[in-house]
């Protein structure tokens, strides 16, 4: 494995090594994936704050962003969803559950040939919209779907 990348993945060396690598031309900035967990976004306790903390400004509802989720969650602790985007140059996908205690569920940086299409399983505390935001060329495109929950999965 590329030792530089391993260093980055381990989070060792932090930003000085990273800047040195970029300066040396060993690493293009576009190849540097999210190094830090966005605590402000993950700890935001409402959807507006979570979107803001993710830097998502003026998202546009788009028919090219897709969310497949059940109408009713059979088990709200394990809700299977599929998220994808046909927006050109989609580089990142963020998944939010508006009414969960913290709205941001996951954020995916895609690179190296990964397609903007993912399956995952989430928890829902109550009936809520699930929201998928595609990041493409500095703009934001989203879709939502409401999923009904009869018994909560987060409080347990």
């Amino acid at each position: 494995m590329n030792p530089l990348r391993r260093l980055l993945l381990k989070g060792a060396g932090a930003s000085s090594a990273l800047l040195a690598a970029i300066a040396a031309g060993a690493l293009k900035p576009g190849e540097v994936l999210a190094a830090d967990w966005n605590a402000a976004a993950f700890e935001a306790n409402n959807i507006a704050a979570a979107l803001a903390a993710m830097g998502i400004v003026d998202p546009v509802e788009s028919a090219d962003v897709f969310l497949k989720a059940p109408d009713i969650a059979e088990d709200s602790a394990v809700v299977p969803i599929e998220v994808s985007s046909k927006v050109a140059n989609t580089q990142k996908l963020s998944v939010f559950i508006d009414k969960n205690p913290t709205s941001l569920a996951a954020h995916f940086d895609l690179a190296g040939g990964a397609l903007p299409s993912l399956g995952l399983r989430v928890k829902m505390q109550q009936t809520s919209r699930i929201r998928v935001v595609a990041h493409a060329g500095g703009k934001f495109y989203f879709t939502t779907k409401e999923v009904q929950v009869t018994i909560g999965g987060c409080g347990g």
Partner: protein
């Protein structure tokens, strides 16, 4: 260190289909045990996937991802025999890395 992940990677059409199943409690910190005590938060924060020499996925994860996280996605430009290396780390500083090889498309049984 956690239990081994289950990783599958197989060429399907013009992309490799990768599936990862991680064994992890993903506790939110809001759940109570049978004695009524809060179970401390314990969840994966990061998961990265490398195929060959390319990082293809870097996921930041919160407590709303279900217990025993499962992810499925596709990567173009991968070929049979490429190494797939998946790593995660969690909020308690635990981490784990597992790997597999991309498999060719199984011969069709017509």
């Amino acid at each position: 260190m956690g239990d081994p992940m289950k990783i599958s990677a197989r060429i399907k059409g013009d992309a490799a289909e990768i599936r990862v199943l991680v064994n992890h409690p993903m506790d939110t910190g809001r759940r109570k045990d049978p004695a009524g005590n809060l179970v401390p938060a314990h969840f994966i924060k990061h998961l990265t996937v490398i195929v060959g020499d390319r990082t293809v996925l870097d996921a930041q994860i919160g407590t709303a991802v279900a217990r025993n996280p499962w992810f499925a996605f596709k990567v173009t430009g991968a070929k049979a025999g490429d190494r797939v290396v998946v790593s995660w780390n969690d909020n308690k500083g635990d981490s784990r890395t597992d790997e597999t090889l991309v498999e060719a498309t199984p011969a069709s049984r017509s």
